[in-house]
C-alpha cells in the first residue's frame, strides 16, 4: 500500500471540498489500496460526521449515507415498505462486509473487472488512455449493454439495482451547495472516459439516498451467480410489479451485472403495463430488453441468461407458470 496521510472529520463541512479521498466502510477502497489500484495521498475518515440514520422524508424514507448496509436491510420500515431494497442488500457480499459497508460507499464501489484490479494490464478505467485488455480477453463477467471500445466493465453492486427500480435519488453535497440526482442517472456509461464511474465531482460527498413513497406490489430481487452466497452477480433482476383486475399496472425493472451502471430500460416496463400476464407477453418484453445486448465472447451466455431471468421473475411476480423457462 502506498503511503497516505489520514484525517478524521467530525462534521460534514470538514469533509466536502477536500481533495482527500473519503473513507467510510473502506471495504472496497482499502482492498484497492492494498492492490495499489487506488493510491490516494490523503484519506478523510467520514465515519464520525453523523448521516447514519434512516428517517421519514415526505411519504418516503431518507437513508443517511453512512447507514451501514446491514442496518438498512434490517430496518423495519425498509423491510416492510421496500422489501426489494432489503433483498438486494442481503444478496450482496458477506455479513462482515455488510456490517461495515455504507449506503454512500456502496454506490461508489468500483468495478470488479479483473483487469482493472490487476496492475500490469491495460485498463482505461485505472489508467486513462492505456487501452482495455478485457476486450478480447477473459470477459465472462463483463457488460452486455452500453459498453464501448474503451471499457466493458460492469458496476458490480446489488443495492443500487434495487434503488434504480425504486426510482430513488441521491443527495449530494459540495462546496457550491447541494444537488439531487436520480439514482438512474448517478452512475455513468463508460463512453470515452471510463475512469469516471459516476457523476460525483471532486470534493462532493453523498449525504443521503431518498426513497419515494412505497408502492407495494410484488417486489423481487433475483441474483444469478456462480455460487449460492457471497459472489457477484452474473446477472440480476430487480422488479416491482403490481396487478389490478388481471392486468399489469406497474412494472419497474432494473438489471445488475450487465452494464457500467444499474441497467434501466423504461421501454420494457411500458411493454408490460396494461396487459394481462402471459408467457408470450413476458417473452416479448424480454426480447425487447436483450434486443440491444452485445456479447464480448466470454459473456455471451449473459444474454439468454438475462432474458430467461426476467421471464422467471415476471412469472413469479404475477403468479403464473413455474420456474422452468428453458423453452421460452
Amino acid at each position: 500500500m502506498k503511503f497516505f496521510d489520514y484525517a478524521r472529520a467530525t462534521e460534514l463541512s470538514e469533509a466536502i471540498g477536500e481533495f482527500a479521498k473519503p473513507i467510510a466502510g473502506g471495504t472496497n477502497l482499502l482492498d484497492l489500496m492494498k492492490l495499489e489500484v487506488e493510491t490516494p495521498s490523503r484519506l478523510m475518515d467520514i465515519n464520525h460526521i453523523g448521516l447514519n440514520e434512516i428517517s421519514p422524508h415526505g411519504d418516503g424514507l431518507r437513508i443517511g449515507a453512512l447507514v451501514r448496509n446491514a442496518d438498512c436491510a434490517a430496518d423495519l420500515r425498509v423491510r416492510r415498505d421496500y422489501p426489494l431494497l432489503a433483498r438486494a442488500i442481503l444478496a450482496g457480499a458477506s455479513p462482515q462486509l455488510r456490517n461495515r459497508a455504507t449506503t454512500g460507499g456502496n454506490l461508489c464501489q468500483r468495478t470488479r473487472c479483473t483487469y482493472f484490479m490487476r496492475l500490469g494490464t491495460r485498463c482505461n478505467k485505472r489508467e486513462p488512455g492505456s487501452g482495455c485488455d478485457a476486450i478480447g480477453g477473459v470477459n465472462r463477467d463483463h457488460a452486455i449493454f452500453g459498453a464501448t471500445e474503451h471499457c466493458i466493465a460492469t458496476y458490480p453492486g446489488d443495492m443500487a439495482v434495487a434503488l434504480a427500480a425504486l426510482d430513488a435519488s441521491v443527495q449530494i453535497e459540495g462546496i457550491d451547495g447541494s444537488r439531487q440526482v436520480s439514482l438512474r442517472d448517478f452512475h455513468r456509461l463508460p463512453d470515452g472516459d471510463p475512469h469516471l464511474d459516476n457523476v460525483l465531482t471532486g470534493g462532493e460527498i453523498i449525504t443521503s439516498v431518498k426513497l419515494p413513497a412505497p408502492v407495494g406490489g410484488k417486489q423481487i430481487y433475483r441474483k444469478i451467480r456462480d455460487r449460492a452466497s457471497y459472489a457477484f452477480a452474473l446477472v440480476s433482476v430487480a422488479a416491482i410489479v403490481t396487478l389490478d383486475q388481471g392486468r399489469i399496472t406497474r412494472a419497474d425493472l432494473a438489471f445488475g451485472g450487465v452494464a457500467h451502471k444499474p441497467w434501466h430500460d423504461p421501454a420494457v416496463g411500458r411493454a408490460l403495463i396494461g396487459n394481462e400476464p402471459s408467457d408470450q407477453l413476458f417473452s416479448e418484453a424480454a426480447d425487447l430488453l436483450v434486443n440491444q445486448a452485445k456479447g464480448q465472447g466470454g459473456n455471451d451466455f449473459k444474454i439468454p441468461l438475462l432474458r430467461r431471468s426476467l421471464i422467471a421473475v415476471l412469472r413469479e411476480a404475477t403468479g403464473i407458470g413455474g420456474n422452468d423457462v428453458r423453452n421460452l
Binding site: A7, L30, R42, R79, P95, Q96, N99
Partner: protein, 171 residues
C-alpha cells in the same frame, strides 16, 4: 484538522492507543502491536473471514479497516471471548463437535458465529429468509449467515453442528 491523529480505543476491555503509519490495518495492529495472535490473516482482502473480530458488537473483517479508524471503538477478539480455563459456550461447542481440522479459520468462525447469534436474536433477516420479518434459524439460514467465513479443510458440517449446539445451550 490535524493530520494523522491518534486513535484511542479498547481491545478486550483494555485501553490502547495507536498513533503511527496510517496504513496499519486493525488486523496487523492486533497481531503485531498487541500480540493477540488468535486473529488470523488469511487472504488480507476481506474474502476469507479468518480475521473476523467484533467491533462495537458487529462482526467485521479486521483486514479491511485501519487501526486509526477505531477511535472510540470497543474491539473484541477471540482472546476476549474466552480463555483455555473458561471457554465460551461456542468455543466449547467447537471442541465438542470437532468444528475444525487445521484450526486456522476457527477464531474467525467463532467471533463471526458469536455475533451472528446476536443478529438472529435481533431478528435480522438474511438472503435465504422466506419471510423478511420472521427469519427461522434453519440450517440453510446458519450456512448463509456464515458464508463470510471460509474453511479450507471443509469442516462445515461440524461447524454447523457446533453453532447449533451453542444456540440450543443458550436457550
Amino acid at each position: 484538522m490535524p493530520l494523522n491523529p491518534p486513535a484511542n480505543f479498547r481491545v478486550n476491555g483494555k485501553a490502547c492507543r495507536y498513533s503511527g503509519d496510517a496504513r496499519r490495518s486493525l488486523l496487523d495492529f492486533l497481531r503485531d502491536d498487541m500480540g493477540l495472535y488468535g486473529t488470523k490473516k488469511g487472504c488480507d482482502h476481506g474474502q476469507c473471514g479468518a480475521c473476523t473480530v467484533i467491533v462495537d458488537g458487529s462482526r467485521v473483517n479486521s483486514c479491511l479497516t485501519l487501526a486509526v479508524m477505531q477511535d472510540g471503538c470497543e474491539v473484541t477478539t477471540i482472546e476476549g471471548l474466552g480463555s483455555p480455563e473458561a471457554l465460551s459456550v461456542l468455543q466449547r461447542a467447537f471442541v465438542t463437535h470437532d468444528g475444525f481440522q487445521c484450526g486456522y479459520c476457527t477464531p474467525g468462525q467463532i467471533c463471526s458465529a458469536t455475533a451472528m447469534i446476536e443478529e438472529l436474536a435481533q431478528g435480522w433477516p438474511s438472503h435465504v429468509s422466506a419471510d423478511l420479518n420472521n427469519p427461522v434459524p434453519s440450517d440453510d439460514e446458519l450456512r448463509e449467515r456464515m458464508s463470510g467465513n471460509l474453511c479450507r479443510c471443509g469442516a462445515y458440517p461440524n461447524i454447523l453442528a457446533a453453532i447449533r449446539d451453542a444456540m440450543e445451550a443458550a436457550r
